[in-house]
Assembly symmetry: C2
Homo-oligomer: 235 residues x 2
């Protein structure tokens, strides 16, 4: 039975890394002693070791130790044996490239669909959708495919950002970009604002956090969804 948290961001403005999520993670990772961390997205280019240290410090607060998957001699086996898995944020193109290059994409999909508890933040949440086609990241490397894990039957747009009132910038708004996506792709896109997350429990998908999320469907006007909305039938 799937047990997944898909969070828009790791960190809220003014907060420290993962702190707003720790109460939910204590429950989500109940009985977990050791977490396997996937550091491939490398935010700001930090090393796998540095990133894993940062994550260890956060999880120490709820009594969980962290191992980086890059430390393992056999990463596929590490995934298969993991008590729980966390994929952190950073650059989605880099993350997806590494998951394919290392052959881990398939195993990650299998073990999480079979019930290994999973947490994704930002890029680590993007890959929970059908494709990475609604990432906000820069294409700094060329991945072999944009297809991702499909833990939910739609796409995620993390760090969803409303148009900035009074902005003089002429680049596209997030909403315009997602509308462009829908000219070429059928699946719904869920814009998760910073502070929102999805809780996936088996086939049940629930919107969590204090903020509404913005749902975009092809050829339909976007709608706002309140916290606790059941998204199990969204596809």
């Amino acid at each position: 039975m799937k047990k997944i948290i898909i969070a828009s961001t790791s960190t809220l403005h003014g907060g420290s890394y993962l702190d707003y999520l720790l109460p939910a993670l204590s429950v989500h990772f109940n009985h977990v002693k050791k977490l396997l961390f996937i550091p491939f997205a490398r935010p700001s280019g930090i090393t796998h070791d540095e990133y894993t240290r940062k994550v260890s410090e956060a999880f120490a607060q709820i009594g969980i130790t962290v191992q980086g998957i890059h430390e393992s001699d056999n990463p596929i086996e590490a995934l298969e044996n993991a008590e729980a898995i966390f994929t952190g944020g950073g650059n989605t193109f880099l993350l997806v490239s590494q998951l394919y290059k290392t052959g881990l994409m398939e195993t990650l999909e299998k073990v999480v669909k079979n019930g290994t508890p999973y947490l994704g933040t930002s890029a680590g949440s993007n890959i929970c959708g059908l494709t990475m086609g609604t990432t906000n990241d820069m294409p700094i490397v060329y991945p072999p495919s944009f297809n991702t894990l499909g833990f939910v039957p739609f796409n995620i747009n993390p760090h969803y950002l409303d148009p900035i009132e009074g902005s003089t910038h002429m680049g596209e708004t997030r909403e315009t970009r997602i509308n462009e996506f829908h000219h070429f792709n059928p699946q719904p896109v869920l814009g998760l604002r910073e502070g929102s997350w999805l809780e996936v429990s088996g086939n049940k998908i629930t919107l969590k956090g204090n903020l509404p999320a913005r749902l975009f469907r092809k050829n339909q006007a976007p709608v706002e969804l309140e916290p606790e909305t059941d998204l199990s039938d969204l596809n």
Copy 2:
């Protein structure tokens, strides 16, 4: 001899389509009667016909007629015979996918390097760099490669945006994204603010417009470049 304008944006806030560039375009396209337009990037998903109409209206003001390349039975021949070429903005992933799929990428490179006057705005400027790896766009389709035309020996970041003071958004700033790019790619990246453009005349590259541009090099602090800076040696 190359004769190219690479503009950050087609439109300035409060202005109409291409108006701020028309004086420069009158000179750039001096003696041109008919322009071949590449509408593949489809901003906001508009059709090739709609986009071509919009461009025609702008160029009518300086006495140039416009034909969309999609109207041609033989687009490769149309490129080869074009008096001048304009690639408009929109989604860079879509533009690059279409240029490869139609087999036009190679011909476009050849004719512009051989001297057909060219204008690019936004996505049409992105493709003038070595790769599309510093686009701001969403990966709504999967192109066969991120390699682009290399009219300049570096990468372009159009619509360059300074960090927004007081922002509480935790998504990466443009500068952070470009720094991540430099962890995996060696070439310089020129952040062109809206209202700036590059003028390429043979091997001479000059920054135009009223604003400074921001130059990012791997392992170096970014620097501001004043208008009229000669970028011919940047690589």
